[in-house]
Subunit: 197 residues, 4 copies
Amino acid sequence: MRTRILRAALPIFAAHGERAVIDDFIRAADIARGTFYNHFRSTQALLEATQQWLENDLILSIQGEIAGFANPADRVGMGVRWWLRRARQDPAWCAFTVRLRHHGELVERQVRADLRDGLARSVFHFASVDVARDQLVGTVQETMYRMTQRAVSLRHVDDVARTVLRALGTSPAMVEAVVARPLGRMRRPALSVAVRD
Amino acid sequence: MRTRILRAALPIFAAHGERAVIDDFIRAADIARGTFYNHFRSTQALLEATQQWLENDLILSIQGEIAGFANPADRVGMGVRWWLRRARQDPAWCAFTVRLRHHGELVERQVRADLRDGLARSVFHFASVDVARDQLVGTVQETMYRMTQRAVSLRHVDDVARTVLRALGTSPAMVEAVVARPLGRMRRPALSVAVRD
Amino acid sequence: MRTRILRAALPIFAAHGERAVIDDFIRAADIARGTFYNHFRSTQALLEATQQWLENDLILSIQGEIAGFANPADRVGMGVRWWLRRARQDPAWCAFTVRLRHHGELVERQVRADLRDGLARSVFHFASVDVARDQLVGTVQETMYRMTQRAVSLRHVDDVARTVLRALGTSPAMVEAVVARPLGRMRRPALSVAVRD
Amino acid sequence: MRTRILRAALPIFAAHGERAVIDDFIRAADIARGTFYNHFRSTQALLEATQQWLENDLILSIQGEIAGFANPADRVGMGVRWWLRRARQDPAWCAFTVRLRHHGELVERQVRADLRDGLARSVFHFASVDVARDQLVGTVQETMYRMTQRAVSLRHVDDVARTVLRALGTSPAMVEAVVARPLGRMRRPALSVAVRD
DNA sequence: AATGAATGAGACTTCATTCAT
DNA sequence: CATGAATGAAGTCTCATTCAT
């Protein structure tokens, strides 16, 4: 039942953000008012639980996909590609992440670690990890916002990856090598609510 | 009186976003409840008026600063530098823009025109105007969000400009030439509420 | 309007005690829900305001009636008689006081001062001020409870005064002297809601 | 199980009065929600059962203690002393009785019978049985309320008995004779939850 | 215009009770 | 019987908006 509520909550938060009200959730999950409160203390608690759920889900999906890459350029570039691929496939997740501006702590750590690693290995060349992080996260966010407005091609996604890598000072050859990698089939995320593509 | 309400509303929207309530505004402007409704039909109307006001203000401030540059790299790079300089000086405006996700239509047009112009003149090299726009806007947004959390140096601002220009495929020499330009003193924006720097 | 709410609240508290709900008050005062909250933060606040109001009212009514007596037996005995007379006249006040168990701080102080004074002057003879106070207050309370169930004669009221004074060790002659005093007409209490007698 | 719930309910009612909620009871009795309703139709039914239980308990304890006295002054005076002794020993029972204002019908009958008997035998001298009853019950109630606030000495209890008897018109010698009787050890009441003294 | 009391729809949360296992 | 999740009526409080002065 808790999962049922969470599953129903994701598209609601995606659609209405923090303005979502209890009635939205109980209508979407088709449960009674009291049932909601048997599982979540408040809508705020539901939001936090949903974010936590997404966070855990990310560990299983995105991080898993890039675990095999040693090259930071691969990790960052493929991470961006997988992330945006997933955003295309799961519009509710995409809209949720965009609306709530949620960057999970784990993702944050992963990104900064990869950026620092790439700098240390001279794969990347930039002056500030903070700026590099803001460029990467900001570009991806803005692309996701675009996705909530209209469909975006996979080629567009690859261009985003190119742009991000180039901004980090990656060599053009390496940029193309990363983008040339096949994406294959993504493990279906556990929380996926609606899928297209 | 209308200006008085608008001036008071900006920091309120900046602090509370769309969750701001009418009491916040009338307390900040020190007016009666009914007076508010003599000037604005609703809080939504106030929000729109505030956004419109910022938009007009931008024409007078940011656009005016870069009007003299013919080179698209200068226009984009100096635009970013002036924009972020202003965000540093006017935390309320910065927070408002970040919270409400407002990109004025005029700014949007300006950015796309400069990007297309740079591409046509081979000052920039990128595959997609949309991606370039998302990179530029996303990076600036994320930097502004950072500013709402803690102070950011002018050097940081310049690094952001460098990163954006590099991602657009500007030559390293031109990037440095843009960043080397002095910023001078900014015309005080009409709506500025609090200033530091 | 505040007075209107208070005036309407008294019989509601009298009838339902602390279980009274907002709807009871707004129906009784014939006002909108929001109007209530413009004047009182909560029902608890209304209860406290009502008690405070009664307390202030008591200063003007009961205390005023016994201000002229120097003899503690007169003060206590006439106080009891006036108090219970008033309880007869104002059933709402009576029921309120019984249900909420409210002994105003001022009344409390008055009673203890008179008891101590009577002891010092050898008008009263008892071992403990606490016990004397409990006897006086308890007997009056129980009589008021009786009044909420059925009508009580003025003769009954006088018998209560006799009993209380006797328990305090007052001489029989003085007891009768106190009860023999005429009560006269009571100043109409400001908050009186319903009157009989 | 029914007894287990009752035993757990007493201190809950004592602490929260009628505002006690079902969760309080099931938590205190460490049972499931449904189990409660297998034994009591509602919380109101639990309250009534608890009151009935106390009533029956009183027959076994207080009434038993004074059964041997023929003199109404002894019956009333020793009844008060035993009653208040018990209130000291069993704070939960004391608080329950004070909060819920419960006067068992059996106690009521007992008191009135003793008062009438004393009047008939000229042991007591008062004008009205009702007033005498109110004085007795009120004084004891108020003393019990005092006990819920702070500890009270056995000497205080005896002073209460003295005061009550004196108010009933008992001769001073008889008052002292009653109070001089030893109280001995009280039969442990079946429902006693916590004991001090 | 400015005022601010009144309004009432709407949101949140609690809690007594039911019911299938 | 014991269990505990589900239920929904009932209550609290907020806040955008109206309106008479």
